[in-house]
Symmetry: D3
Subunit: 167 residues, 6 copies
């Protein structure tokens, strides 16, 4: 018998990709419960509101047992502590992620040394599906190009957004 | 109630440092059991034999519950599977570790996709205590310089080795 | 006898630098025809409009046989296919370019595996003349500082722009 | 007997951190005089005006002999030359700083080869206190979290700013 | 009508991998002829002699039109010039390859500015099949693990080598 | 009036290159005296003995006032302290140097926090003249290729060495 272990997976998820979902599934092998937390204080211009992002994620994880989605409030490590998580999960795809992730992980360790940051590697086929790149490639009229990287409900939401909110 | 989770921490450990031990302690927060496995097929000229390294580690983890030390035999992922581990642990200190670690992790995932590689960050004060750097700095007559980074039994073993095996 | 090979060199070119022109000349050794394509959907605040950038480039390549300039429309790989190009050219100056360029190249390969991305290295003397750095250093009153890196018509255009469009 | 050596330490300093101050103290071992220069043409949205930043720095260096603070005017290398500095000081914390810093240093060397850029390494405990990260973590209600990284007067100024200028 | 273009692909190829062969096929889209050249002066302890490596490659490219294999003699750029090649081909897999490849490419440009180095990206599935990693994983008894990365004749040669030349 | 400042420039210098000499000249703008120290405990197979390297350097700096050459004995920071140096000088050419140099600098700071490591950037034209690359390219019969990077006495010494000590 062992004790329960919960992990927090914080991120912007603007939008959620198959790469993120792959990380969630890998984390489920290591933890009894995984909570995705949608960061709200994103400085860059978002595609989706935090609430929209939360719902897009929720539809994609509804069949995964022991996975839930929350809006991230306050400091990440405090949020983790409040929900009883012992670890923060971060996906590492490329060396360019490394420095910032490391500085953030060290800052978080400073703020609360009880919460451990662990880095997971998404499946190789999702290495180039950063949300940023997906947005660069994507537009309403060629959303089919990104279908291998983005869940269908996100593609549909992007189509609607474009229709309602032309740029 | 939850199921037991065991992690394998493979490495050369030539010699074990406080940085390695810090990673072990962090891993113990996430796993029910941690097994250190000493790689034997090291191509570079080792300071200690695999058996010596195993014993130097063992003395340092003897008070940590749920930690054991083994000689690594065969492929790492097969060894992990045989001992019932669900994860490989690797410490990441610097961006220069990144590429090789990622290629190795991907190769291991190819060999067995059930075993997840997770990357942990050692305590900042051990970032510069790679075994390689320690060996460069160290010599029998100034072993005291590395006392903050290396367990006492390793320093003593290095002294003995130098005396018996002068170079 | 051999078949014709055309390459597409896409970029923001805001503004064109001698580093870009050096890459064009190197590409002409390898391809029968090189087409520069000015990306229009740049998210950052541009100095010049796409049409202005196109004209600034055109003046600088008008004596290079087999070089032309176009506005980039739609997806880069589709544009490449439509003009009959077999390769995308990218200049690599620094390791910080690497990850993004690689992710972009992999995304483009996913979108069309017939179009190969090749990376060329500009002349060493242009390694530090990124358009971004040039803009940081440059201002109307000290445009002479960047004369070694930027074609004369661009410097003149920058002067005019500043006069008409003070900031 | 030796000649006087003055160094210029240019930066945005938005806000000044203990990491910056650590670099200043290290530079004082090497130079007879250190001048901090606050860059004014920062493209990103600043927290503090250049004048505010200058004053926040000044309070923190008032007890350091041979240290002064200035607003940076014009090109950095020209400013350095005008004040009689022989060196530019830059702190390097992480490999991700490297490429940009190197390109900038090469550009500055091109503009004036008499002024040497030297890179110093801040104390390890300040490696993760980039101004950017500090701003991400910080908010008026949890300014105490960043107390180990930021001087008290900056924390107070941030509190006042938040109160007066809610966002 | 266009002129013939030949490219030289130099390397140690100890042993040839599917990643190398992938680069060859991609290069054939861009050049009329590709010559692989086996470097002989490898400082590290090789698995195969240059002649053995050449033959292992030859069997794998015998069905590719316009591809040939040679032993590399003298300076790479001189060899390229002697066989009439206008380009050197290098595969870039990871950021850790970058610096050395760039320094080598610059040295080669210094030695002969007529020969252009171009960097190609192997297929993503071969990113982690560096010859070095393959050798680490491989041993006679588990050669089947590396079958997806290494041609069959290389695996067979590795088996024979192990039998004849036990280590 | 100011106090004297001495800097130690430690290295393998196997052999000295124009890149190293460029760093020495730049350091002389910042320090009153520069001491090159030849590391003796090099693990790799050296081309020249420490004494030979010292003499090859000495001939090249004999006209530089305030520059001397020594064999490095014991720990670098202790040697620095013994000769009264306040700084260690390191040349940084590429991002791949960065991590190791930083770890070494941190280790040295741990061993003696009074001695500051400063990083200088050699002239861009020497970026690709690492001793390692020079050795790869060089052979007795084509020493002229490396003439722009290596002092004449080193080339002559390499010729003699090859004649006497064929490999």
């Amino acid at each position: 018998m062992s004790f329960m272990r919960k992990a927090l997976y914080p991120g912007t998820f603007d939008p959620i990709t198959f790469g993120h979902l792959d990380v969630v599934k890998r984390a489920l092998r290591l933890f009894d419960e995984v909570v995705l937390a949608v960061a709200q204080n994103d400085s860059k211009t978002p595609w989706f509101t935090p609430q929209e992002r939360l719902e897009l994620i929720r539809e994609n994880v509804k069949d995964l047992p022991n996975v839930s989605v929350r809006l991230l409030e306050g400091l990440t490590v405090e949020f983790a502590k409040n929900i009883g998580a012992c670890a923060l999960i971060r996906g590492l795809r490329a060396v360019s992620d490394f420095d910032f992730e490391f500085q953030m992980a060290q800052m978080n360790r400073h703020l609360n040394d009880e919460i451990e940051t662990i880095f997971l590697m998404p499946s190789q086929k999702y290495f180039y599906t950063s949300s940023t790149l997906v947005k660069q490639v994507c537009s309403a009229k060629n959303a089919e190009h990104i279908a291998p990287f983005i869940p269908p409900n996100v593609i549909e939401a992007m189509r609607l957004k474009r229709r309602m909110d032309p740029q």
